[in-house]
Symmetry: C2
Subunit: 354 residues, 2 copies
């Protein structure tokens, strides 16, 4: 499917379903709206899925991976080979996202959107969970020019859309977005700065843990990247192409797919939300279909969520990425649906209402 066609196919959530869901909530045997955000979550899920029997039983996380030319500027605490090494760890089931996904019962799929090493799924433990859609072996250095071409940016978004679409067609009812890519808080901070219009300092944080000098190099890289590339904040594809990353484009595609197919997408932290900002720039209606799994410890994340008008479900000082915050929040969301679907009404329970 072409991007234009995707964008045309996205409609705002039908608020009639949310209103119907609020009426059901009002009948549940508890004081009015006594479970706070759990009610808002279940009602939004009713709106998205157009039902009063919402379900997030089948869950999946798509971990989008890519490498970044800007890593050459010394913006990360970890060397670039860690991207590929971590992908192997995901496939072995040994990383944070695997542990948390097992907790909530979510499948984990890993996508090579554009990492440097060439991985052969048939030769790797757990390789059946690796989807290779490499756009290139890492982006170009955004501090010196465009990270990718506009065509590559569109390819990244459409690839993410197609992979998410396949999962939805297989029966996945809720999708979490994850990321892996050494250096990827730098393009994410650049995207946040441009689309939201914050200062660079507000958006650049320590990522995996750079020291003061590394932080200063990150700030320089973002400043140079924006000055040299002059991305158009109203053109999501331009922003992605000039200062983004392949995995960030893939995440944007996942977000579009949720909105297109009436399925909830749970975004994770700083990088996932940068992807969401790109998707939102392409099509603001996507916000209706997104949930913010958590608020990251990465400094600019709160401003990103505020811009998207999303309230994070969790706030646990996490800053790992991989999709961990989104996956953990799926358990809360499923709990919210159990309340909605399983709690008796005052009438059914025979309890006196006030």
């Amino acid at each position: 499917m072409e991007l234009e066609e995707i964008l045309k196919g996205i409609k705002p959530v039908d608020y009639k379903w949310i209103e119907k869901a609020r009426k059901r909530t009002a009948q549940l045997v508890m004081p009015p709206r006594a479970l706070g955000k759990l009610h808002e979550i279940s009602e939004r899920l009713c709106g998205i899925q157009k039902t009063l029997k919402p379900s997030v039983n089948r869950k999946a996380v798509l971990v989008m991976a890519g490498d970044h030319g800007v890593a050459n500027e010394g913006v990360s605490a970890f060397p670039q080979e860690v991207t590929g090494e971590m992908i192997k760890t995901f496939l072995r089931g040994g990383a944070g996202i695997n542990a948390i996904s097992r907790q909530v019962g979510a499948e984990v799929w890993v996508v090579d959107m554009g990492i440097i090493p060439v991985l052969n799924p048939n030769a790797i433990q757990g390789g059946d969970r690796l989807l290779v859609h490499k756009i290139a072996g890492g982006t170009a250095n955004l501090a010196q020019g465009a990270a990718m071409t506009r065509k590559e940016a569109e390819q990244a978004v459409v690839t993410g859309f197609q992979l998410a679409t396949e999962l939805f067609h297989k029966g996945v009812e809720i999708l979490g977005t994850g990321d892996m890519g050494i250096g990827n808080t730098t393009p994410s901070a650049a995207i946040g700065t441009v689309i939201i219009g914050t200062t660079i300092d507000e958006m650049v944080g320590r990522g995996t843990g750079v020291d003061d000098q590394g932080l200063s190099r990150k700030i320089d890289a973002v400043r140079n990247g924006i000055q040299i590339n002059q991305p158009d904040r109203k053109d999501g594809l331009d922003v992605l192409a000039k200062i983004g990353g392949f995995e960030i484009g893939g995440i944007a595609g996942c977000v579009l797919a949720g909105a297109f197919h009436n399925r909830p997408v749970v975004i994770d932290g700083f990088i996932s939300t940068a992807g969401a900002l790109v998707a939102h720039a392409l099509c603001p209606q996507v916000a209706d279909y997104m949930f913010a799994g958590h608020c990251s410890e990465e400094s600019g994340h709160r401003a990103m969520l505020k811009y998207l008008e999303l309230e994070p479900i969790l706030d646990l000082g996490m800053r790992l990425g991989e999709g961990t915050g989104g996956a953990l929040a799926m358990g809360i969301m499923e709990g919210a649906l159990r309340v909605f679907n399983e709690v008796l009404t005052f009438e059914e329970a025979g309890v006196t209402d006030k």
Copy 2:
């Protein structure tokens, strides 16, 4: 067991286990402490259980129920018969705590600590989950005198301790405390005011949703209760007896039992934390063994948690009680343990450390 013996048996958590756990966390294949509070949770659990293989696999919630003489002051939005009606709903599996407990895989047990109606477990659907330990058919009106005798207060605490102890002996690895009792935010607010030393206004909230007049009656009831009874804030049993409730005493006993048996106890919202304040007044070391499941929407709860130096795991605007916030947090805690137990080390994963 006598209360005195219980209190003597409680030791502070051994911080050596927490230090050992921190060393393991530092080896996990992720940036240092990148999962924030999840690490703190898993490390505290190692300290409590004295192990580097912590488990919260078997979970239970004890919902303590009691009625309150102070309900006659018009302090609740719901009539008093709702206490007994809700107990039947819990036993049928149809309330909020049941739905959330199913989500996290926790057993729900309901305790009649002192409700007005006489319920026969053999004659009620799901009655095998009802434990009858009625101290009296509701407390006396705390606004006019002591809610119960000192002996009854001790009985409530020891009963809670014994019930929790039985669950731990059966293999329960983590216990959540819950409450049901129309009017019970009033004694909880009184306990908070006295033990913490806040103003009454700061501690009295709308509970299940009283209007302005009801709120004013609640404030009067708490003020009168404290003036007439003059509870000694340093004597937890005196506070419980004069301005408490049977279920609040039972919850205090659960908290003591966790500390006594080296098992984590997850407290819920305003009423559970009032019980925790009583336990803390009896034995400050209990704080080491407690987790705050969430921060309630009830206005005084945040000050209670601050006093106990507990950081809530969730903050979702919930104010239902029943144990719902604590139960929901158990899923997060189990996720934290999966990370601790299942994530590979840098060495195992063959990933380059920084």
